[in-house]
Amino acid sequence: MSQLLLDVNGLTMRFGGLLAVNNVNLAVHNRQIVSIIGPNGAGKTTVFNCLSGFYIPSDGSVVFKGEQIAGLKDFRISRKGLVRTFQHVRLFSNMTVIENMLVAQHRHLDTNIAAGLFKTKRYRQLEQEAMDRAAYWLEQVDLLDFANREAGNLAYGQQRRLEIARCMVTQPELLLLDEPAAGLNPRETKQLDELIVQLRDEHEISVLLIEHDMSLVMGISDHIYVIAQGTPLADGTPDDVKQNPDVIKAYLGEE
């Protein structure tokens, strides 16, 4: 078994009297695609918010690369290599595609003000490296031709891909994708499928995925967790999960 990258134990999130996430356990290993599925309102996105630091979990531990990260500030978690996307596309829509990619690399650039004022050698070199990295990832998601367009003018599917590329230039180790296939047509979903597999196989990234498109989830996941009403329901390989009577009941309702 490969190394454990993310280890979540007893994750609990309460909003006042509402128990949104109840005692969820997750494990993601290196170079793995792990999915979280569950009916609408099951608390999947809340789990993401807890992992990425947007919420501080009420209870439980989140260990990333052997380090406790529960309760850290969101940007600190992201800098450690755990980067997420959102259910709704969140691009900087008045900025160009390439600028979106550069903002994501903010901490890889020389942000010293004097260096920028006088354009030192290091400043220009780091900027060039960031540009090259951006160009590389734009090519991976097939957006290189649109680099100088405004992000808001891209087609929806392209915006989705740009969001993933923008995460990738931050050089993460674990990518959290929140319903990346929502609103995509079958052809685009297939491209996305290939892209995620490529991230795992070629770029050695682990992916934690929330998705409703079952054919996508079942096709690419190494491991699936099912959550219903904030509580873990089942987990296992795609085949295990498909046959689990509890899962079928949660999704289709009782007879």
Binding site: S78, M95, G116
Partner: protein, 417 residues
């Protein structure tokens, strides 16, 4: 039509109430008593003519806008130097502009140069606030506080410790920046309206503090006799203070009070060019992009590992330090400052310059600063109605050009292959 009738009656009613209060009746003092005096018959005639005009223009507004739709509006965008077709021409145009700025004061009257200096102060303030409001999207209604801090830093350091203008210029900027930082730290968690109110309060606190700390600041009497800037130790007065040489003796020319005015103007030009240079670079730097990104989507920024507190603070600090520069220069130019110069309406004017010019646009802000300082000078006779005209200008702008005179054209980074 019925809808229009309602709004026409409503608008006419409001006009009636407002004009009656402002023009129709007047309070005059007779001996020890105050007396209410009604307007003359001719004035009442004008008032009712005005009300009728409002009423009918509202009633027939559909017809009016249909009739005026055919009239072409001036295309302001084509006037911008940025739109120059051949990019090769641009550096030459800029160079010519800079040379013009330096040569021009020697050919015109003293009053014109003085007015230009005042305009440049507002350009500086507008550019500074533009960083905070236009680029970073933080509404700051107390900007004048940093201006005051800059001015008082120089005035106090000069009168207590005898520090020169040139030494105080960076100190004033740093002090204003420090105050920006200190204020920014607790308030930048707030957003929009809440931030605006807190900054508004801060502006008032500083003014009231200056007003009441009589022992240090002289209170409402202000500080007078602030030293003028010198050129490498040369003074611009008729007789220099001990151990100094006046400029005209050094150069072997006759004394003219115009020299000082021109010198101040030139300092202002240099300061504005420096501020413009810094802001231009900032906009192309990672920091400038981060400001813009933070304005567009804060949550996405956080998810990408950007520390929003630090980024907002830098915007606040930069804006404040620019105001500090402007304030220091203002104190040197006036030679006298008092809390009177730093009231809320100054903040409002600076903000109006930013909004009028087009948020985030530097050319726009410069143009707006010129409009806002020069127009009142030309319309001296109407000085009583200055605020009225000012409001009218804002209303017209928001109706026809809400994006500002010259909306922002940010320099985009391009991927070259």
């Amino acid at each position: 039509m019925r809808q229009n009738l309602y709004s026409a009656v409503f608008a006419a009613g409001i006009t009636f109430v407002l004009t009656c209060l402002m023009i129709g009746v007047k309070l005059t003092s007779e001996g020890t008593q105050l007396k209410v005096v009604s307007a003359t018959e001719a004035q009442w005639g004008w008032i009712f003519a005005g009300i009728a005009l409002v009423f009918f223009s509202q009633l027939f507004r559909d017809q009016i806008s249909a009739a005026t739709a055919g009239i072409p509006r001036p295309k302001l965008a084509t006037l911008v130097p940025e739109q120059v077709r051949s990019p090769k021409l641009k550096p030459w145009l800029l160079a010519a502009l800079v040379v013009g700025l330096f040569v021009w004061p020697f050919m015109v009257s003293r009053g014109a140069v003085d007015l230009a200096t005042l305009t440049l102060i507002y350009v500086m303030l507008g550019l500074g606030l533009n960083i905070v409001v236009g680029l970073a999207g933080l509404l700051d209604l107390g900007y004048v506080a940093f201006y005051a801090i800059g001015a008082y830093s120089y005035a106090l350091l000069s009168s207590y410790f005898g520090l020169s203008f040139w030494a105080c210029l960076p100190i004033a900027a740093v002090l204003a920046a420090t105050f920006g930082f200190v204020l920014g730290f607790p308030v930048l968690r707030l957003r929009g309206d809440y931030l605006a109110i807190v900054t508004l309060g801060f502006g008032e606190i500083i003014r009231i503090l200056l007003n009441n700390w009589t022992a240090l600041t002289g209170g409402p009497n202000g500080i007078s006799g602030i030293e003028k800037p010198t050129l490498f130790g040369l003074e611009f007065s008729r007789r220099a203070s001990e151990g100094h040489v006046p400029f005209h003796e050094f150069m072997g020319i006759d004394y003219s009070s115009g020299h000082k005015v021109i010198f101040l103007y030139l300092i202002a030009v240099v300061l504005v060019i420096w501020v413009l240079f810094v802001i231009n670079r900032l906009m192309r730097m990672p920091l400038g992009r981060a400001w813009e990104a933070l304005r567009e989507d804060e949550i996405a920024c956080r998810s990408l590992g950007l520390n929003r507190t630090v980024i907002k603070l830098t915007a606040f600090t930069f804006g404040a330090s620019t105001a500090g520069f402007a304030g220091c220069f203002f104190a040197a130019r006036q030679g006298f400052i008092s809390p009177e110069s730093f009231v809320f309406i100054e903040s409002a004017i600076i903000l109006a310059i930013v909004v009028l010019g087009g948020m985030g646009s530097q050319f726009g802000v410069i143009l707006a600063a010129i409009v806002m300082t020069i127009l009142p000078e030309f319309a001296r006779e109407f000085s009583e109605y200055r605020m009225l005209l000012f409001g009218l200008l804002m209303v017209l702008m928001m109706r026809w050009r809400p994006q500002g005179l010259l909306p922002s054209k940010r320099p985009h980074m391009e991927l070259k292959r």
